[in-house]
Every structure is written in structure tokens, then in C-alpha cells.
């Protein structure tokens, strides 16, 4: 049985604040066609695409069972179609389970989110909380993130100035990414003086509202050469769900990310992540998360996030050369965006951002209040 699956092709549209002239169906179609073009994949029932995995969000789409609205533009009519409503990185985990279990050997994985449709993403994430207690208190991902930010900054001695540097760097890196959201290049003072959302988080500490869609063709190891000469391999996956209630958690502990990362590393046969992995794409819906998750995946020491930033950890470990989610990816698609950047790097298509001699990369993404759910994917270059 296979031990890894191939990413044969990826496609995406540019991250954009508001695709006011497109439905999300139009956005997906712009990703669907390039995948078929690059791979020459068909929908033949014997050898073609028989399973489609999609990632979308009912509340952002304002319709329940939101995958129903896109089956035509992802080619899912008369096919198996499964929806991931959680972080898109789990779509890769799902695809991995499908392929390694022998359920299917070619999978089209597509995702979309049009955050600009809704008036308020805070009201969207407010709905993640129970209607009896947490929701009436006004909990949403921003103010819960602020609780985590405060406690983590205390623990790891991360400062407002360091958070500002993370934002400034993200935008600079994002400007080199042709698919990155076009943002104003800012300096540290602008970050430090941007409107306060929930202390200590300011407007510029948070990822901006973004519309985006992507597609990937995934297949089993033995079939990769039918679709590409330059596959990238997914060799490890791990996920972990932390507790729902804030009061049950140590918000600065990284418990679930460490668990997810260990599983992914074990699956990929990695013992020393700092030596064996050259690229890290980390989730950063808010600036403070970058050093926190760096601790979680094992490239910064526990409780040393501030020191790690000062010592140039982000550059040493090639963290978020894409600009990261902080530069702009929709809430639930950050993981797919991280994986796509790793794909570009590992297949040597990253242009200006390309890191030399890249053999292995890690994509990590979090979702849920204060990174409740964590997932990590290990990817390897052809021949790596």
C-alpha cells in the first residue's frame, strides 16, 4: 500500500478583498479549468476523477449545505462529493485517508470562501459559540484570540513592537507573492497606532477580510506520473482538537498543536524538525499566533517566542514566505493556502520567494476559538 500521496497540480485565484463582480461559482471555475488543463485529468469513471472533496462554510455562503451550490463548477455531478466545513487543511487529511485506504486513487480538492459577502466576520465566528452562554457574551474569534494573545505575550515575553514587526514582514513577503492580497505596505508605527480591536489586538494584527478559491489534484503514488512530471508528496498528517470551553484550557500551552505535529512528524519519519524541514508555513490569523505556533511545531523553544523572534527565527526557518494568512486568506482556507505555498516551493515554482535546496516543508493551520483545532501536514519534494 502507498505511504504517501501526490499533489499533482494546484490552482488559485488572487486573494482579493472583494470580488464584487464574481459569484463564488465563478471564482471556483477559475481554479477548476487550470487543474484539468495542467493534468489532462478526465471524469472517466474508470480512470478519472470520481471523488471530489470541497471546503466551504455555510455561514459565509449564507446557505446551508453550501457544497450543494458548487457541484457543477467543481465537476461533482454524478460523482462522490464530500465537504469539509472545517479548516481546509483537513481536506488534505481527508484526501489522504481516501487514497491510503484504497477508497479512491484520484481526488479533486477544491475550496472557496467569499468573506466579503457577509457584513461581519465577527458575527460569523460568534456563531461558533453556544447560544446559551458564550454567544450572548459576544465571544468571537477576535476577542477570544485577544485573551490568548495576552496570556501568551506574558508567558513568552512577546512585545507589541515584535507583533508590529511580524505584520510589516508579512506584508512585504505578501507583495512578492503574485497570488497574495494586495495590501498597503506599512511600517511598525502604523501597526502600533492602528485601531484597537480587542486589547492587545489591533486592526493590523488581524488577517484582513479576503475572498479566495483554490483547487488541487491529488492522487496515489503509483498514478502520479500520469498527471505530472513534478509531483510534491504529502507524507505526514496529524490533527488534534483541544477543549471547547476557554476555562478548560491553558491558552498558552500549545497542547493540541504539539500533539498534531508529533503525529505528522512520526508519520513522515521526522525526528529533528529543525534540521529536517526547510520551510514552515504557519497559521497566523493574528500576529501573536506566529511565534506561538512556532513553539508548537518545535522550531522555537517553549516559552521563548519573544527571544526566537529577536534572534531571527522567522528567517532562519523560512517561516511564511508567502505572506501568511496575516497578509490575507479567508478564515477557513488558511491551511490550503499554506499547503499551496509549500507546493510551489517544493516544486521550485516559487519565483522570487524560492528557497534553494528545499526538500521538506510543513504547513500548519488552526481554526476554532484561540486555535482550538490544529492540523499539520508534512510535504516533500520529488526525490526528496
Amino acid at each position: 500500500m502507498d505511504k504517501r500521496l501526490a499533489v499533482c497540480a494546484v490552482a488559485q485565484i488572487k486573494n482579493h478583498p472583494n470580488y464584487h463582480y464574481l459569484r463564488f461559482q465563478n471564482m471556483l471555475l477559475e481554479c477548476f479549468e487550470p487543474i484539468l488543463e495542467q493534468t489532462k485529468a478526465t471524469f472517466d469513471m474508470e480512470t478519472g476523477i470520481r471523488t471530489i472533496i470541497t471546503c466551504s462554510d455555510d455561514v459565509f455562503d449564507a446557505r446551508t449545505i453550501s457544497d450543494n451550490g458548487i457541484t457543477d463548477v467543481v465537476g461533482a455531478h454524478f460523482r462522490g462529493e464530500e465537504k469539509i466545513a472545517q479548516e481546509s487543511i483537513n481536506g488534505l487529511g481527508y484526501a489522504m485517508a481516501c487514497i491510503l485506504s484504497g477508497h479512491d486513487d484520484v481526488i479533486l480538492f477544491m475550496g472557496h470562501c467569499k468573506e466579503s459577502q457577509g457584513e461581519s466576520r465577527r458575527m460569523v465566528s460568534n456563531l461558533a459559540y453556544d447560544p446559551f452562554y458564550c454567544r450572548p457574551l459576544g465571544m468571537d474569534y477576535h476577542n477570544v484570540a485577544a485573551l490568548q494573545a495576552r496570556t501568551y505575550m506574558e508567558k513568552s515575553q512577546v512585545t507589541d513592537e515584535q507583533m508590529a514587526k511580524i505584520v510589516v514582514r508579512s506584508r512585504k513577503n505578501g507583495a512578492k507573492n503574485p497570488y497574495g492580497r494586495e495590501n498597503k505596505i506599512v511600517d511598525e508605527d502604523e501597526v502600533l497606532n492602528s485601531p484597537l480591536y480587542s486589547d492587545p489586538l489591533r486592526e493590523l494584527h488581524l488577517y484582513p477580510v479576503t475572498d479566495w478559491a483554490f483547487g488541487m489534484l491529488l492522487c496515489s503514488e503509483v498514478r502520479a506520473e500520469e498527471f505530472t512530471t513534478n509531483p510534491v508528496w504529502i507524507t505526514g498528517y496529524g490533527s488534534c482538537m483541544d477543549r471547547y470551553f476557554i476555562g478548560d484550557r491553558d491558552l498558552a500551552s500549545n497542547f493540541s498543536l504539539k500533539n498534531a505535529a508529533q503525529r505528522a512528524y512520526a508519520m513522515a519519519g521526522i525526528k529533528y524538525p529543525r534540521e529536517e524541514i526547510q520551510i514552515f508555513e504557519l497559521g497566523d490569523q493574528a500576529a501573536y499566533q506566529l511565534p506561538l505556533w512556532a513553539e508548537g511545531v518545535g522550531i522555537a523553544d517553549e516559552g521563548q517566542g519573544g527571544k526566537w523572534l529577536d534572534e531571527g527565527g522567522m528567517e532562519t526557518f523560512n517561516v511564511n514566505l508567502s505572506g501568511g494568512q496575516l497578509n490575507g486568506n479567508p478564515l477557513l482556507l488558511g491551511g490550503a493556502a499554506r499547503v499551496i505555498e509549500c507546493y510551489y516551493q517544493l516544486s521550485h515554482q516559487a519565483g522570487e520567494r524560492q528557497v534553494k535546496n528545499v526538500k521538506r516543508a510543513v504547513a500548519q493551520a488552526a481554526t476554532g476559538g484561540a486555535g482550538q483545532h490544529q492540523a499539520v501536514i508534512v510535504m516533500e519534494a520529488q526525490g526528496g
Binding site: Y21, S116, Q117, G118, E119
Partner: protein, 396 residues
Amino acid sequence: MAEYWGVTVADIFNSMPERFRPEGARDVAAVFGYDIKDEGKWQLTVKNNSMALEKTDDLSCCVATMAADGETFVGVNVGKVDATNAFMSGKFRIEGDMVAFGKTGRLFRKFVLAGKGMTTREYLADMFATIVPRFKAEEAEGLDASFAFALGGADGGQWSVFIKDKACTVTTTIEGKPTVTLEFNDARDYVDFILGKIDAQSILAAGKAAAKGDINMMASKWPLLFEKYKDPLGGNVKEQELLTLKKTISINQRFATGPVMGKFLRGLKDKKIYANKCPQCGRLQLPPREVCAECRVRAADFVEVGPKGEVRYMDVVYYAMPDPLTGVARETPYGSINIRLDGCKGNETLPHFIRKDQIEKIQMGWNEMQGTRVRPVWEENRSGDIWDIKYFEIDE
């Protein structure tokens, strides 16, 4: 102890604490006696909205005492013996303050035999018999109104509830011009409605009931004027307190039409209906979508179809699904049709509504059978949305 209709005298007394209605005892502070021949004597003390019952030998402290034989006592309580007849024929008598004893009628919910249901007729009798005891005079200040109930079906009947000078009376007729009239086609629905088994909106929407006159008086004032009716069958089980949250989840949204749906909606402004055509299989889609879902290719060619066509499917909708854009409930029933516009084939149909007064005349089409020919009726001022077509009507 003797049983009458499967019930003993003790059953009646033992169930009194459970059947006690504190709201019916607000102005009662008295001791009542019951002297049941060959069964014993009981003393009921009512004070401070609560009651105490004890078996005793001495009823001398009672303000009023009822004396009866066991059969009459049980019969009156289970509804097998008419109380007025029994009183007139001397089968039971009241000693002491008869007016005071009259108040005991509203102290208890109806006694119901365990395991036995109540018929619609029994429920209606109990519901209207308890109206006066459930009346809250303090809410009727300055009110002069009458509520009429016309309940159809075999078990139905007519009742009027008059409220004037802070007093409430009930009659079994409808007289004069009621302030508000509630009509139910079937009295059983009224019983289910009062018991909370069905909601008013669905009965009204289904045309099974109607309210005439000052509907607002019924909706807003009635619940204040009367204690809620309690189901006697529910009386033996302590009610759970159910906590629920009522919440409307609302996030404003702005949807882009995209170029394909945009072309279709723009066409409606010009009274044109556009389908899009698959370049591979030639299939038409209405309304147009970005791709032919079967061939998985863009379907960018637009074809004007209709505007006339034939009805392929129709159903008659009785539930007034509100228009989500306006919140206004639709008038029911309405005819929901799928029309195969001229130029379309097979199942390439467009959904819309048929003119309300033509529902009965519509013939559905299928295979070789042609359906009724229809044409769109256009809105005069069109803005590029589905309601630019008001509805379709028969093309005569």
C-alpha cells in the same frame, strides 16, 4: 370502599392536592366540609393560595358543608351525574354559606380517570366551564367586549364570552355583533390549538380557521384576561419548567450575481428570458449557470427562449412560505409551476407562479401530452429580479 365508574370517593379526595389551582384560590380563605354517607367526613382548609385536607369527625368549624352519598359525589366529579339535577332532586345538599361553597368550583382542575383520554366534547365543556374561574377581573378595567367562538364539526358548538363592568359571562350562543369571532372548521383543531399541539399560524395558513373582527383584541388582550387553560390530563404529572431561547440569527449579506446570472436578470428588465446552452451537448439551462454540469465545460452561449411556453409540472402550495426578501407571507393556496418555454426541450423548465385564479384550469404536460399554454405577465417597472415576471397566466 365502593367504586362508581371505576372511581372511589378516596380517589377524588386523594387527587385534590394535585388538582388544586392556587390562581383560583386568591380570594378564598375558608374551611369547607364534605360529609359523604358511609364513607366519612373531610375538612378542606383554603388560605393564602394553598390548601390542606384532612379526614375528621367534626365539621362544626366549616363555613359550608356538602352532604351527599358516594355515588352522587363521584358522579358529579367524573361528569357522570349532572350537578344541577342532583342538587334540585336533593341528592346532595349544602349546609351553611352556599355562596362561599360556590367558590370551591374553581379551586380544582377537573378530575380525570387515570389512563382515560378526554373527548373533544369533554374538552370543550371543560374549557368553557373554566373560563369564568380563569377570568382576571383586574385586567378588564373599562373593557366592554364580546368574544364569539364558532366551532364546527360533530363535536362543535357556539360560545360567547362577554366582558363588561369587570365581569365575565359565558353563553352557548352567538348573539349580536361580537367584537371578534374565531371560527374553526373542526372543533378538534380548536382543542389541539388550546392544548398547544398545533400553532395558530399553521391552522390559519391552511385555511382551517379564521378570525374576524378585532383580531388584535383576540391576539393581545385574551391572554391577559384569562389564566392559561390547563389540560386536566396533564394534572397528575408535575410540569417541567422548560427553558428555551428565542433568537433570530441575522447577518446582512451582499451577493454578487456574477456575469452569467447577471445576464439573465438583466434580460428580464427588457422582457427577455435567456437560457444558456452547452457547446457540447446542446442542453439549455434555466436560469443559466456557469457550466454545463454534465459536460463540465463553460456554457457561455445565451439563447433567448419563450416568453410563452407550456406548463410541465404544477403543485398547489397551501403553506404560506414567507417571501424571504420581504418577510411577507404569501396568499395561499398558490400554484407553483415549471414551464417549458418555447425553444426548450425535455426538462429544461423555468419555475415560477401561475395566476392565482387559474390554478384549477391548469393542465400539466408530460412526454407526448401538451400542457396548458402560458405567457408571462410583466411588472411595469422592472429592476432585474425574479419578480419582474409577476406570474404566468393562461395564453388565451
